[in-house]
């Protein structure tokens, strides 16, 4: 579990702040796709993401990134 999530779960909260959400999206992108959320957004804007990885759509929804296709 990511540090951000661990902290939230320990605190018994079920909602992230905008700052935590940004960190969480970055952690998830790095953990599952091996890239920062900034790199993810850039690849998404260029329609250069592989849609073979089932995590791509989840990271996109998490970060509010619009994919060209899914």
């Amino acid at each position: 579990m990511s540090p951000t999530l661990s902290k939230v779960v320990e605190e018994g909260r079920d909602e992230l702040t905008p700052e935590e959400a940004e960190q969480f999206a970055d952690e998830q992108s790095r953990q599952y796709l091996g890239m920062s959320i900034g790199e993810f957004k850039e690849l998404a804007s260029n329609d250069a993401l592989s849609h073979d990885d089932p995590m791509v759509v989840h990271i996109a929804l998490l970060a509010g990134v619009k994919l060209h296709s899914c």
Binding site: D14, E15, L16, A21, F24, D52, P54, L61, K66
Partner: protein, 151 residues
């Protein structure tokens, strides 16, 4: 868990993000993300509701969701109809996963019921059927589309 996304939207994410599920003889893994905003409820003046904009409910054989078994998706991109990816990126089913198999709207409750009834996932509570029925009843009452079915 709910996280703010961009443009005033939010994302509800399974917590942990990838949930291990015990079946009769194995484990499978579920990740669900629903992007939504809060809007005025057109049918109940003065009330607000969550409006789903996109969703992805993905089931896989590992905690990376690969190989992927199912992914029910509806997103603001092509194709815009709700669809299912079956066995995406699974070399044993080459090409199948690229198909966008049309579906109706698939709710989180639908996925949980499917996994319990069809995959033998062990529910964590004895009254799971009542809980899912109650949850689906509430969701379908306020859903703008796709909620009209027998429960």
């Amino acid at each position: 868990m709910v996280t703010p996304a961009t443009g005033g939207s939010f994302a509800a994410v399974t917590n942990p993000p990838v949930v291990p599920l015990k079946t009769n003889n194995d484990r499978i893994y579920l990740r669900s993300t629903v992007q939504f905003t809060y809007v005025d409820n057109p049918r109940y003046p003065g009330e607000r509701k969550a409006a789903t904009h996109q969703y992805a409910h993905t089931v896989g054989e590992s905690d990376t969701l690969r190989p992927q078994l199912y992914s029910w998706e509806w997103a603001a991109t092509e194709p815009t109809y709700p669809h299912l990816h079956l066995r995406r990126s699974d070399p044993a089913f080459e090409g199948l996963g690229k198909l966008h198999i049309p579906t109706g709207r698939v709710f989180y409750e639908d996925v949980l019921r499917f996994l319990i009834q069809e995959h033998g996932v062990e529910p964590v509570r004895d009254d799971w059927d009542d809980v899912l029925k109650d949850s689906f009843s509430r969701v379908s009452t306020y859903a703008t589309w796709g909620g009209g079915r027998r429960t």
